[in-house]
């Protein structure tokens, strides 16, 4: 889809985020009927998804599905930013890792309840995103990619400092422990490592993220973002502030990455500098690319596929080689990633069927 600045309604105030997030008029993507249909579909997906543990009885596979959803949420945050703003980030592990560490420190060192810790972790990651975003969204393209990478690596270096060893555990990492009586969504810490028990928390979080991203993407704000992505200069000449929308998108994206980080820390009950590492940053970006940026669910599919492949191929000793091959295949042969290829294939099939029907008349 190629949306240009001309398609953005000219009456939208350029610097008012509330107005930008208002539903677009009928015909421009987010009318009342579409919203209701979308929400209805989300409820169905939510309810159906809650039965996944009944279908997948194997704990290993259930673990892969849960890990895939958590990585998928992180990949969604990166995919949203890339698709809507054209900003490719290699530094979202900063928010993912910061949130994971925030949760671990709040529960283990400060004895906060896990629910308080989740709120703290996600808010903390979001505020970090806002602050960092204020500096980096001005520099799109390769500069943005390099800056985000540098910030992620800086945070990684920060947590391994010996001076903060008591707080972060440095290279040894930090166990997440919370009170025996405390629960998250009815789950005690002793049960949270069980993937089937943890699944509803991950799945509900995922569906909420998908709905939010879908609504934002289809709103006026989403259209403005796309206009800026397509031609920033033209958007600016048309009277739009191109900085604030990108900052909002970056902050929203960092909030979602923070949610993924909090979920990861809860499930693993352990955080280590790996959550902030370049490898994790690469994993999430590759998952988003392999799944496909162009659709909302592409990064999620990429996350699940990535975790499954990692689990199956890690024993080979050549995991990075296979990861590289998968990336090349996705970029060269699957334009739009896996989901893009599937939807393209479906469209082509429909065209062939319709052509044959037409020829048969």
């Amino acid at each position: 889809m190629s949306t240009t600045a001309e398609q953005v309604p000219s009456e939208v105030p350029a610097t008012d985020p509330a107005a930008l997030l208002a539903p677009a008029p009928v015909g421009s993507g987010l009318d009342r009927r579409t919203v209701l249909r979308g929400l209805g579909l989300a409820v169905v997906v939510l309810v159906v998804g809650l039965f996944v543990p009944d279908v997948i009885s194997d704990p290993t596979n259930m673990g892969i599905a849960t890990d895939g959803v958590v990585l998928g949420i992180l990949a969604l945050s990166i995919g949203f930013l890339a698709h809507r703003s054209g900003l490719i980030s290699l530094g979202h592990t900063a928010f993912y890792g910061a949130s994971a560490y925030g949760l671990a420190i709040a529960t283990t060192s400060w004895d906060w309840s896990p629910m308080q810790a989740i709120v703290f972790a996600v808010l903390g990651g979001t505020v970090l995103g806002l602050v960092i975003g204020a500096f980096v969204v001005r520099t799109p393209g390769v500069s943005f990619l390099v800056l985000t990478l540098a910030i992620g690596q800086a945070l990684h270096q920060l947590v391994v400092q010996d001076s903060v060893r008591e707080t972060t555990g440095a290279y040894d990492g930090l166990a997440v422990t919370w009170g025996a009586d405390d629960k998250v969504a009815g789950i005690a810490q002793a049960d949270i490592g069980n993937a089937a028990t943890f699944w509803p928390l991950a799945w509900v979080s995922l569906v909420v993220v998908l709905v939010v991203l879908w609504l934002v993407g289809r709103s006026r704000f989403g259209r403005v973002l796309e206009a800026i992505r397509e031609n920033e200069e033209r958007a600016r000449f048309s009277g739009f502030n191109t900085y604030v929308p990108r900052l909002i998108a970056f902050t929203l994206s960092s909030a979602i990455a923070s949610l993924a980080g909090a979920l990861f820390a809860l499930k693993a009950s352990f955080v280590s500098p790996d959550t902030l590492s370049f490898v994790t940053a690469g994993d999430s970006l590759i998952a988003a690319i392999v799944g496909g940026f162009a659709t909302l669910v592409g990064p999620l599919v990429g996350g699940v596929v990535y975790i499954y492949a990692q689990s199956e191929l890690s024993d080979s000793g050549n995991l990075q080689l296979f990861t590289g091959i998968a990336l090349v295949v996705a970029v060269v042969f699957l334009r739009g990633g896996i989901v893009g290829a599937v939807t393209d294939g479906g469209r082509k099939l429909r065209t062939i069927v319709q052509t044959r029907k037409g020829a048969g008349r």
């Binding site: 979308g38 579909l41 997906v45 159906v48 998804g49 996944v52 279908v55 997948i56 009885s57 194997d58 704990p59 290993t60 596979n61 673990g63 892969i64 599905a65 890990d67 895939g68 959803v69 998928g72 010996d162 555990g169 290279y171 040894d172 990492g173 166990a175 997440v176 002793a190 049960d191 949270i192 490592g193 069980n194 693993a268 009950s269 352990f270 280590s272 500098p273 790996d274 490898v279 659709t295 909302l296 669910v297 599919v301 699940v304 596929v305 975790i307 499954y308 990692q310 689990s311 890690s314 024993d315 080979s316 000793g317 050549n318 995991l319 990075q320 989901v339 599937v342 939807t343 469209r347």
Partner: protein
């Protein structure tokens, strides 16, 4: 709308298809542990990186122990089966591999090398109904703040090693010491304990200096040591830093004027060939040495050499073998491979091993075994260890780590 429905259905289909719907197996509730049930052990070493060699050596030793046990009719009648699953060494991948292995029936896990991997695994062990044996990671936190009811360490921890070195100080000829330490928790802790021990032994610390981890240029540090009037150096430098310090110290002729060069985790068997004769006479903490004079060790070394082209086992292999021995003894005591029964047996286990009498401390699941101070000497065509001092566990770290809440 159809396109949207398709797009929304894709993740659900992917989750179902990729993870193989409805496969059945036991859900981690433990094996039967009954007569004839195999003793299945999962080893999860890293497939690459600088520590991969240690993972490989651990695996070899576990397999050696398994073959040895099976040749004698198994452990209390249970055939030992080893399954190895390599990972990229990240905590998440290691935990996934462990979960997969436990799903396949393995209830005992080892071969995990790094601290973050061990730390992450230890938190998940109860939900997997599995028991881990850490035979490599020495970080105190693993039997301290990060301890787990299902995790056991069969190698000395850092505190034990540092105490062993400090308690051997009287046996070393130097009286004026310079401390060269990595600017890291272990470096600072070791320097502090050493300084106190030196004072108690009537010796003097004339210089203490710290170099950041990954220092490659030690010239300025070496100059300060030479100008300090020290006749002994206590060096806490690991891996590449240790190699750089030794090589540059030799170039600067630092060691020629010293009575004692004492290392902490600085020189070990894998580095003997690389460092060569320049480390002859160096002292260092050691956890295991193949010359230990007891019947179990003599038999182990002889069998190992027979199977490995005449090569002596070094500490990584011996520590892994000790981990296997610990598990086997617990299974014999429990008369079962059921993890709950084996765990009960482990909590009060004491047995005669290749490193003498050892026991598991119930308070933090740390094994209690001797630590040693060794000196590098010429042995045959290469270098080897001569044991200078043996420090029992009752002197190195007699109490369980109070931060461990099992």
């Amino acid at each position: 709308m159809h396109k949207k429905l398709l797009a929304a259905a894709v993740p659900l289909m992917a989750v179902g298809a990729m993870t193989g719907c409805g496969s059945s197996s036991d859900s981690g509730s433990g094996g039967s542990g009954g007569d004839g049930a195999p003793l299945k052990i999962a080893l999860i070493p890293p497939s690459g990186g600088p520590l991969a060699v240690f993972g490989k050596d651990s695996t070899t030793a576990w397999q050696f122990a398994a073959d040895e046990a099976n040749a004698n009719g198994g452990v209390d009648g249970h055939k030992v089966e080893i399954v190895t699953s390599q990972t990229d060494g990240t905590p998440a991948a290691t935990v996934r591999a462990a979960r997969k292995a436990t799903q396949g029936g393995a209830r005992f896990i080892s071969g995990v090398i790094t601290s973050p991997e061990n730390g992450a695994l230890q938190q998940q062990l109860p939900s997997m109904n599995a028991i881990s044996f850490n035979t490599f990671g020495k970080d105190d936190a693993l039997t301290g703040k990060q301890c787990s009811a299902n995790a056991y360490r069969t190698v000395q921890n850092t505190a034990m090693d540092v105490d062993a070195v400090a308690k051997s100080l009287e046996k070393l000829p130097a009286t004026k010491w310079a401390i060269q330490a990595v600017d890291y928790a272990t470096g600072r802790t070791a320097a502090k304990i050493f300084t106190a021990a030196a004072k108690q032994a009537g010796k003097q610390v004339v210089l203490t200096q710290y170099a950041p981890l990954n220092t490659t240029e030690f010239g300025s540090y070496i100059t300060k040591i030479k100008n300090s009037g020290a006749d002994g150096v206590f060096a806490i430098e690991f891996g590449a830093d240790g190699v750089a310090f030794v090589n540059q110290g030799a170039q600067f002729k630092l060691f020629q004027g010293l009575k004692s060069v004492l290392g902490f985790n600085m020189v070990s068997e894998p580095l003997f060939d690389a460092l060569g004769d320049k480390i002859e006479g160096f002292y260092n903490n050691i956890g295991y040495v193949h010359q230990l004079d007891n019947a179990k060790n003599r038999a182990f070394v002889a069998a190992w050499k027979a199977k490995n082209g005449g090569k002596d086992p070094y500490y990584v292999q011996a520590d892994a073998y000790l981990g296997a021995q610990t598990l086997f003894e617990a299974v014999k005591k429990a008369k079962s491979v059921d993890p709950a029964k084996v765990k009960t047996a482990l909590d009060s286990l004491s047995f005669d091993s290749i490193v003498g009498q050892v026991s598991i401390r119930p308070g933090d699941h740390q094994i209690l075994r001797d630590s040693y101070l060794g000196q590098v000497e010429k042995q045959g065509s290469g270098l080897g260890w001569k044991v200078i001092n043996t420090v029992p566990a009752s002197e190195t770290q007699p109490q369980a780590d109070p931060s461990c809440k099992l």
